[in-house]
């Protein structure tokens, strides 16, 4: 009994001290207040509203009606959902190649160059394609794939390979692969720069030790470089997964999900359901599902891929 009152008093005292500290640092809170007011309205509120309204039937100018899981069901009942999920999975898997493996190998190539100035030149050359806005880059690729005016078909014509000519983005059998092909050979980009940053952090002594032990080439890449640059590689894997699930800008510009539903993905469906047919409820439900899956995969990856130094 005595003990409990003492802890009670102690707790009271602690609360008082805390309160005094809070009052003393009123300036800090005053400085933070505008930030939090703006953020609560514009940054916290929308995702929370999305979570809640995924369970409502709502549209602009209509009162929201609670419908339980009907919106989620509506997406899975919809006939193309299976194909869309498969498409997203394919894009995600391919992102691991184009966004992680290839950039890492390119970074290794550049890293193995001994002359520092040449290395820097290559690094800069890789930035050049990134001086073009993302939308322009996609529009250029749309032109490259153009069946009548694009350079791919012109090239095939010139070399007598007419039978290989295709309507790259208009053929349902290959449109998805054409979308994957955007950015070929996938070496220039932020990913390579991030990998290079990771490799550059490795201490010189590791390489000397490596060389003395006769560990070179591919063996070194796998046993030394990859583990030491794992935090960068892991970041790229997470980015590739999130992009695979949520990015729609490329599909929207190149094919708009077509032909038919050949290149449609759930994220694109969310966008179209919300903004062309005004089914905000279904849109929000798809958004919640994609949020959960991308979050889950991110947590899984960061759980199982742990860099040594963390």
């Amino acid at each position: 009994m005595v003990d409990r009152t003492r802890t009670k008093e102690e707790r009271k005292l602690r609360v008082n001290i805390l309160w005094a500290q809070v009052r003393r640092s009123w300036q800090a809170y005053a400085l933070l207040a505008p930030i939090f007011i703006i953020m609560i309205i514009f940054v916290y509120y929308p995702p929370l509203l999305g979570l809640v309204r995924a369970f409502y039937n709502w549209a602009p100018g209509k009162d929201p009606v609670f419908v339980g899981l009907a919106n989620f069901k509506a997406y899975f009942v919809y006939s193309e959902s299976g194909r869309e999920i498969t498409n997203a999975a394919k894009l995600l898997c391919f992102n691991l190649i184009s966004g992680v493996a290839v950039p890492f190998l390119m970074a290794e190539l550049i890293f193995s160059i001994r002359s520092t100035s040449t290395k820097e030149t290559y690094r800069l050359a890789m930035v050049i394609p990134m001086l073009v806005p993302g939308v322009v880059y996609l529009l250029l690729w749309r032109h490259i794939y153009d069946p009548n005016l694009g350079p791919i078909n012109a090239f095939l014509d010139a070399f007598g390979l007419k039978y290989l000519k295709r309507d790259w983005l208009g053929d349902p059998a290959i449109a998805l692969y054409a979308i994957m092909g955007v950015g070929f050979p996938w070496v220039s980009g932020i990913s390579t720069l991030i990998c290079l940053g990771g490799l550059a952090q490795m201490p010189e002594s590791v390489f000397d030790a490596c060389l003395m032990d006769g560990c070179t080439g591919l063996q070194r890449v796998v046993t030394i470089d990859l583990p030491l640059a794992l935090s960068q590689v892991r970041l790229l894997i997470i980015l590739a997964v999130i992009n695979g699930i949520t990015s729609i800008q490329n599909i929207l510009i190149l094919t708009r999900g077509g032909p038919g539903y050949a290149t449609s993905v759930p994220a694109l469906r969310m966008f179209l359901r919300a903004f062309t047919t005004n089914e905000y409820g279904v849109g929000s439900a798809i958004g919640v599902l994609l949020f959960i899956s991308s979050m889950g995969l991110t947590l899984l990856i960061s759980r199982f891929l742990r860099p040594y130094a963390e």
Binding site: V22, I35, V43, Y45, R114, L140
Partner: protein, 297 residues
């Protein structure tokens, strides 16, 4: 010590003499070929932007003279308003976002107060929320506040969500500023306001340059948000404006041929110019900004 150096030198010698020169040429060749292939879209854009319909028809892939600079003036006529809109929105948005980020970064880095860490993580945690769940309700919110179809749709998004990353970046930099500087300023009677704008800000210009480049790239490249939030041509942003330009060019030109040729690609080049200019003047910060924007999940 000298022995280690000697060994190192020998290793280097061996490295440079044998077995490395051969592969190095191969590596150079591979890198150069890969880079050249990835430059093809940029090359196409540049050459096509200087062609008239005739040149487009007959010499599509080589550089052909004379260069038709008039393509650029044609394109400019159709997109200059989008360029200005985007620049104006980016500038105002960045200013607001910078003020909030600097204040937030300063408070979280230099002041001690109860609930500092929970409040900080409440902001940083927002980086984990992907656009996909925010997008639809965000539109509804902006619509009900009457921000849709004005430049404020772009500006407020930047001002409100920009500081999430800005505070993260600036806090880590501000923490590294020596306390003595603040100490002596405080003795001279400086308040928080002076400490923020007279001491913290001037010392962190490089980080702020990185933040500025990153922020600009983000605004200049954003496509989905202006696509749904701005339907009025008067306030449209450049990314969406390029599509409008292509449409207007095809409906305005006397022959459909003209559309095929230069002006569209000239418009693409014009849309790239601000990024190129930024890269030339702030090269280092540009690369840093790119890498940071990659880290921004």
């Amino acid at each position: 010590m000298s022995m280690i150096q000697a060994i190192r030198q020998r290793v280097r010698l061996r490295r440079s003499r044998r077995s490395w020169r051969g592969p190095q040429i191969g590596v150079h060749a591979t890198i150069i070929i890969l880079i050249l292939i990835s430059l093809i879209p940029v090359y196409l854009m540049l050459t096509l932007s200087f062609k008239n319909p005739l040149q487009y028809q007959h010499e599509r892939y080589a550089i052909s003279f004379p260069l038709r600079l008039s393509n650029y003036s044609t394109a400019w006529e159709f997109i200059y308003s989008y360029v200005w809109n985007t620049l104006l929105g980016a500038a105002v948005g960045f200013l607001g976002m910078l003020i909030l980020s600097v204040i937030g970064g300063y408070v979280f880095a230099r002041l001690r107060f109860p609930f500092r860490e929970p409040l900080y993580y409440a902001i940083i945690g927002l980086m984990m929320v992907p656009w996909i769940i925010t997008f639809v309700p965000q539109y509804v919110l902006y619509n009900s506040l009457g921000l849709v179809n004005t430049l404020w749709a772009v500006i407020m998004l930047n001002v409100a969500s920009g500081p999430v990353f800005g505070i993260f970046l600036l806090r880590s930099f501000f923490s590294g500023i020596p306390e003595e500087l603040y100490e002596s300023a405080r003795i001279d009677g400086a308040g928080h306001w002076t400490l923020i704008w007279r001491i913290t800000l001037p010392l962190s210009l490089p980080t702020i340059a990185t933040l500025a480049v990153l922020n600009f790239l983000w605004t200049w490249n954003s496509y989905l948000w202006p696509l749904v939030a701005i339907t009025d041509k008067k306030w449209q942003q450049i990314s969406v404006g390029l599509f409008l330009m292509a449409r207007d060019l095809s409906s305005n030109s006397s022959t459909a041929q003209e559309l095929l040729g230069g002006p569209v690609f000239a418009g693409y080049v014009i849309a790239s110019l601000p990024m190129v200019i930024l890269f030339f003047f702030l090269g280092k910060f540009y690369v840093e900004g790119l890498v940071e924007s990659g880290l921004k999940v």
